[in-house]
Symmetry: C2
Subunit: 355 residues, 2 copies
């Protein structure tokens, strides 16, 4: 088994180092190989996703990913910007199924913007389709409008699209995930306005008939954005397209108030996966040794579970994280009075010790 | 001056009746004429936006709109469903500028899901472009895919598009609104992924140069969805496209916890406008006399301000609403212990009395 380790930019190096520490402490048999990705890869090789990095990622069984992006690359042309690396990996590896749990840890309830009774015990699994939709749909570009409100004017355009097999496969992922949880799926669409999402809703309904034991609910995206604020605990498994999933999964993570705790997994049909924290590269705190490594450590646990077939090791990591939280250890992002403030490496060490 | 009164479905009739009551009490000179829209129009005329209703709307200086939609129309073909009426009015009247304030009333702070300190004093103005984007972009439909992940498969697609003049005019609306407020505009885009929104960002920046006194900030839509939850008061004027605006304006309204209080306005370049509450038709409570008419009454105030050039009358209504809240009157949706529960008509009467 081989893990590609891609720390990336900003706090990426620091948080991935701690996850690697934890993985090594497990004493399992796998190889790890690192490569540059994002802005640092652009600096070294002129491209955020160099061919050598992509090759490594393709060969590996799993990718442990940190984060990419920094203000200093903002002026580059879009194809050279750090985030293109992550879009490129998703596309070239066919990582269509993105799992983003939004979990509120008991000890961190107060970190949320929401009233404690609304958020305590939250455990939502957002499943976002990750290789289709308007993210990758062709055609796209700039042109002179030939119709619409201002024919003759300069315009830009993108294409939203989903094919039946794309919707079917993410639907199966969602229904199967729901079978292991509370047997309820909320499919989020905008069928009242978009052809693409009327089709999405139709196909979801069809696939749902193969899962009579799972309850399927349809919800418009604007309503979902509201209900997440109003009563987040009413959700369990949420499945949606790439664009709506981008927005709703971030909204849901932030509801917990502790996005520094939230892992994510992006899988293809061979269970190859990319594992990364739900938060970003936080260039403002990079290099200071204060970033929270727990989301990355928990991403490594997801990696063991989904791509490396090591459920037991995954549970050991998750239990160790629970333990350090119970011990009162907190990085600054989740610190509150009465707990012990620690840095990135101390937190990683504590998890290793708790294993 | 002529007002088209379109109550629509569900609680629409009840809440619009109260707003009409308030308008009549002002003793101003304007004509009001009612027509059917939405499901009730479909029942009577076979179409949610009958030609006669559209004609009335076009001739009027302003439209006072209730709400449309009911479960019983869910099975109709999309072009006949109630919400097509609102899309049709936006399109045929060119109502491109949608104003959706998200205001947290002092007395209603506790209704919010958010902790009081995060929400008290909230006053955001979301300006949503309303006649472009993927809502109306052609081409759209179903077809057999010729490229993408599954060539040969059935697929559905939509087109996102914005032309330069469409972006420019909504940009001017936003900058001008910001001049009357805290001189700060947040433009929400997804320029890191979408051609349309890279163009949006470019044009916003260009137009911003004509407003050196207004600060322009750019934010990605996923981040905006997070920041709204984390620190909503950091926003003042937010401007965005039709699709992102649909999601973010609903999220922002729900943050206040009292969406039953929030009005909206949709204007065209001649200041003709459609005024409606931010909430929906709530078929579950229709006919019970318990719906909150204040969002509709406040929409009537916006109508007086923006389309009928009656600023003073608008302020009188707004002051009257403040007064009834201060008196402790509450419809069930905003009721809390120690206040007085009233019904729809009682609330309308109280506003009239407070004028
Ligand atoms: C960086 C960006 C392209 C990316 C996305 O929009 O998918 C990010 O927001 C995410 O959610 O992983
Ligand atoms: C009913 C629907 C078509 C509409 C929209 O998506 O614009 C509604 O959600 C709104 O925000 O006014």
């Amino acid at each position: 088994m081989k893990i590609a380790v891609l720390p990336g930019d900003g706090i990426g190096t620091e948080i991935v180092a701690e996850a690697v520490k934890v993985l090594k402490a497990l004493d399992l048999k796998f190889e790890m190989e690192s490569a540059l990705v994002g802005g640092v890869a652009y600096d070294a090789h002129g491209h955020p996703l160099p061919e050598s990095t992509l090759q490594l990622a393709k060969e590996a069984d799993a990718i442990l990913f940190g984060a990419v992006g920094d203000w200093k690359y903002d002026k580059l042309d879009r194809p050279l910007r750090p985030e293109q690396a992550i879009l490129g990996l998703r596309k070239h590896l066919g990582l269509f199924a993105n799992f983003r749990p939004a979990i509120c840890y008991e000890q961190l309830v107060d970190a949320s913007s929401l009233k404690p009774e609304l958020i305590a015990g939250l455990d939502i699994l957002i499943i976002r389709e990750l290789t289709g939709d308007i993210y990758f749909g062709q055609p796209r570009g700039r042109r002179v409008a030939t119709d619409g409100h201002f024919p003759g004017a300069e315009e830009a355009f993108d294409t939203m699209r989903y094919s039946r097999p794309e919707i079917e496969r993410i639907a199966h992922v969602a229904f199967q995930a729901a079978r292991k949880r509370s047997k309820k799926v909320t499919s989020v669409d905008k069928a009242n306005v978009l052809e693409t999402f009327q089709f999405w809703k139709d196909v979801m309904t069809e696939v749902g008939q193969q899962y009579p034991d799972v309850e399927l609910q349809h919800m418009y995206v604007d309503n979902a954005a509201m209900q997440l604020v109003k009563a987040p605990k009413a959700f369990d498994v949420v499945v949606t397209g790439n664009m709506f999933g981008d927005i709703l999964s971030d909204e849901a993570s932030m509801l917990t108030g502790s996005i520094g705790m939230l892992p994510s997994a992006s899988l293809n049909s061979k269970n190859q996966g990319l594992y990364e924290p739900s938060h970003g590269s936080a260039p403002d705190i990079a290099g200071k040794g204060v970033a929270n490594p727990l989301a990355t450590i928990l991403s490594a646990a997801m990696m063991l579970r989904f791509s490396l077939n090591q459920e037991e090791a995954a549970q050991r990591i998750e239990a160790a994280v629970q333990k350090v939280l119970a011990q009162g250890l907190r990085t600054p992002d989740i610190y509150s009075e009465g707990t012990t403030k620690v840095g990135t490496a101390q937190m990683g060490d504590a998890v290793v010790k708790a294993l």
